[in-house]
Amino acid sequence: MTNSFGEFAKAKMFLVIGSNMTEAHPVAATFLKNAVQNGAGLIVIDPRRHKLVEFAQTHLPLKVGSDIALLNGIMHVLIKENLYDKQFVESFCTGFDELKATVMRYTPEAAGEISGIEPEMIVKVARELASIKPVMVCYTLGITEHTCGKNNVMSVANLQMLLGNMGVECGGVNPLRGQNNVQGACDMGALPNVFPGYQAVGDINARKKFETAWQVTNLPAHNGLMIPQMMDGLVNGKVRGFYIFGENLANTEPDIHKVEHELSSAEFLVVQDIFENETTRFAHVVFPAAAWSENDGTFTNSERRVSRVRTASPPPGYAQPNWWIFKQIAKRMGHNWKSDSAQELWDNEISVLAPNLGGVKYYRIEDDGLQWPCPTINHPGTPILHTNGRFTSGKGNFAPVEWTPPAEVPDEEYPFVLSTGRRLYHYHTRTQTGRCDGLNEMLGEETADISIGDAYKMGIKQDEYIKVRSRRGEVRVKARVTPEMPDGMVWMAFHFREGNSNWLTNPAFDPNTLTAEYKACAVAVEKISA
């Protein structure tokens, strides 16, 4: 996020796109609802009529995967009607002419044709967005989990730069991160192309720096593989040893049949986790790890805030902290690492090596955490990025993007579009929430959400078991007939093994980020004849 949760309650206007905040980020949603109760405007762009729509002045139920067309359409109106922030664009941005050339082709009519939104609504929303300053844009995986995910993100950024809403309080581009520490795992360099602190592995100076710090030579210079490439590698033999730490890939990756084939092809698979799960079934060695609240450490939230995690209980049996396990393997391969606690790792290594975290030390984050960039010990942290038009790379660059359809679109055989996500009472594959008293009682099985119209047409009753099929697989699952859903769409989660949406999802990936298209594939819905 460029901005912070603390600004939500004060904001004047929100645009929420591809984010079912009340279920996936419930506490963030409370601050947004507070703002709306105090008079802030809210525009929701989402195929589903989810809870937040009750609070919205305008809801644009776009077709799944048509975000770029719609956003380009809105920008078209902003430029054509001269509603954009000329001063901001001239002073702080480059590439306006290119953006203009692209969005000029997305007339409200053209954008409306693709997105299923009335052209008048597109004009209305553009005017609404221009009428109030600043507008805070929030999005979640509805934007990123598409084959055009990266372009979706750029499109959102284009809109906010055009409106001059960057670098100001209560504005900005704010992706709410899915996992508690996905921000942190990126910051720590658990990525194939960067060291901790986003220092490129291809940069000789960065490599020198880490070679000195880690007292090694010849750190590899070429980027490594991303998860889908690793999975391919398991099958074609390029990846012989695979180490999975804390992810239940067998249920979370698209197309479970394919994933399980890949995992079962692994020559040597090490899994480190707190429970046996669908993925440990394929492991050759399993390491038992300490869980949340069984060791000290830090998490970094969506607003870049590094906060402390503390110990409440000892780990069970012989389970050990994850960092300890990695250290033991290093030792057995000839490397004696010094740091012997999470605090030593942070204070003596991470904060020393990642410039943006230089000022974050354990003693400074006893209470509220610190938001990076926080380069020095006296730095108060940075709640808002890019203030006064200062973008990381000089000026903000408009990167015009063209709309592309999802990799798989409905056809005669598979006439529905399936989109997926998370529900309030569970978290991902339920390895944790499924073992908490009460949460299963609130939600005990997977459902397929369908519209009232479709249910009526097919004679499907509430809670009736139906079959949902895609080119990859099929599931038997309870129908949840709800006014949240538009006709022609099915929505499912991946909390349960049975009825898991990933039996159906399409392993098609964004060409740049290799993020899978969890949000769109084609399925058929069938009544199970009695």
Binding site: F5, A24, V27, T30, E145, L176, Q179, N180, V182, G184, A185, D187, G189, A190, L191, N193, V201, V216, N218, L219, P220, N223, G224, M230, G233, K238, R240, Y243, I244, G246, E247, T252, E267, I274, F275, E276, T280, V285, P288, A289, A291, S293, G297, N301, R305, R310, S313, Y318, A319, W323, A330, G334, W337, A342, L345, D368, Q432, T433, C436, M442
Partner: protein
């Protein structure tokens, strides 16, 4: 001259325009009791326990709802105020099943009563909020015994207290006992103004007045999403956490601040820990980013760590089955196998996926293992989901 000054109990205090008397007092560390007041939401003035005396005014004013104005001279604990507060407390104690104050013999002192209660801590009838109740604290502070005029006291002696209004227990998280509700309305504010879930409200009128969920249904059949914010703000024992019941009184638990393990909001939690076990979780009041708020997962999703199914020992696959192994055996096997693969096929024949749920230090350590020891950049995590 002398702009924005008021005098509270003889101390001169400055104030900002718009601050209430209570705000000013709190900022100057002057205690005024409150019950219905909930920081950040609209004052209702419902309970009147926060009344103070303002020189030149005959009536007592509710400090939580009265803005400070220049030159006010205020007394927070005058005899008049105390008499008034005692009367309110007496009425509150009498209006419900407040058996902490009426549960023992007639003329006993508070001290004896406390000892008696401690000896009988897990008795079914004892209020679960015992020791964590603002009404109880105030009754003690002002030495009000609930027995007088208590029709509930009578009921208590004749039949069991549970026969009055059965508590609502048909959901896994929250016990709702209207017989202990003092109608302060904090839960209503928490649900409607803080969390904005609009599940509960005041219902009916006069003597019939009570807090209702939906159209006077159970929480389970209302819009309730079990965020538990109402429980966190309830000053008495009318709303309590079901999962925490019988697992320790507040003075027995250590409070440990930490960060929620679920979504990317990163809410700050207070773990209530007894004998190395989390028994309850609350939000850290005023902590960033969540300002005391939590959702159902953050508040009630903590006990997975105590599951019997936890992995407790390393496992090695042998003849198709995973069997327990020692750390040494398992670590040696992995180190040896990885070394062999590197020798035979090069460093890039290894790949790893880190965890976006675990601590930063773990992800740092894993990428360091891959880069510095294995010499490959094949390290990733589900960064884009």
């Amino acid at each position: 001259m002398n702009q924005n000054r008021i005098v509270i109990n003889g101390h001169t205090c400055d104030f900002d325009q718009g601050e209430t008397i209570l705000d000013v007092a709190t900022r100057h560390n002057i205690y005024i009791p409150t019950l219905c007041h909930l920081k950040g939401s609209t004052p209702t003035g419902a309970c009147r326990i926060c009344v103070v005396e303002v020189q030149g005014r005959n009536d007592l004013v509710a400090s939580c709802a009265t803005p400070a104005s220049n030159q006010m001279i205020i007394k927070t604990e005058s005899p008049k105020v105390i008499t008034y507060r005692k009367a309110i407390l007496g009425l509150m104690l009498a209006s419900g099943n407040h058996n902490c104050a009426i549960g023992s013999s007639k003329e006993e002192s508070w001290t004896e009563f406390q000892i008696a209660t401690l000896n009988n801590d897990y008795s079914e009838d004892l209020c679960p909020a015992w020791g964590d109740c603002e009404l109880q604290n105030l009754a003690y502070r002002y030495q009000v015994v609930g027995r007088q005029n208590s029709h509930f006291g009578e009921a208590q002696s004749e039949e069991s207290s549970s026969s009055m209004i059965a508590p609502e227990i048909n959901n896994p998280f929250i016990i709702r006992d209207s017989s202990r509700c003092i109608l302060c309305g904090r839960c209503v504010a928490a649900c409607n103004e803080v969390q904005v879930n609009r599940a509960i409200d005041f219902g009916y009128r006069g003597n019939e007045s009570k807090i209702i969920a939906g159209a006077d249904d159970s929480l389970r059949h209302s819009d309730c999403v079990f965020c538990g914010q109402c429980v966190q703000v309830c000053p008495v024992g009318a709303l309590v956490e079901k999962k925490a019941l019988g697992h320790g009184r507040p003075w027995e638990t250590e409070k440990i601040r930490t960060t929620c393990p679920y979504c990317g909001v990163g809410c700050q939690q207070l773990l209530h820990v007894k004998d190395n076990k989390i028994v309850k979780v609350t939000g850290v009041e005023d902590g960033s980013p969540n300002k005391g708020r939590l959702c159902v997962k953050g508040r009630f999703g903590y006990d997975f760590i105590y599951s019997k199914e936890r992995l407790k020992t390393p496992l090695i696959r042998e003849n198709g089955e995973l069997r327990p192994a020692s750390w040494d055996e398992a670590l040696n096997l992995v180190a040896q196998k990885f070394t062999q693969i590197i020798q035979e096929s090069g460093s890039d024949a290894l790949a790893g996926v880190s965890c976006a749920r675990s601590i930063n230090e773990d992800s740092y350590q894993m990428q360091k293992l891959f880069r510095a020891v294995f010499k490959t950049n094949n390290i990733d995590h589900c960064a884009r989901t």
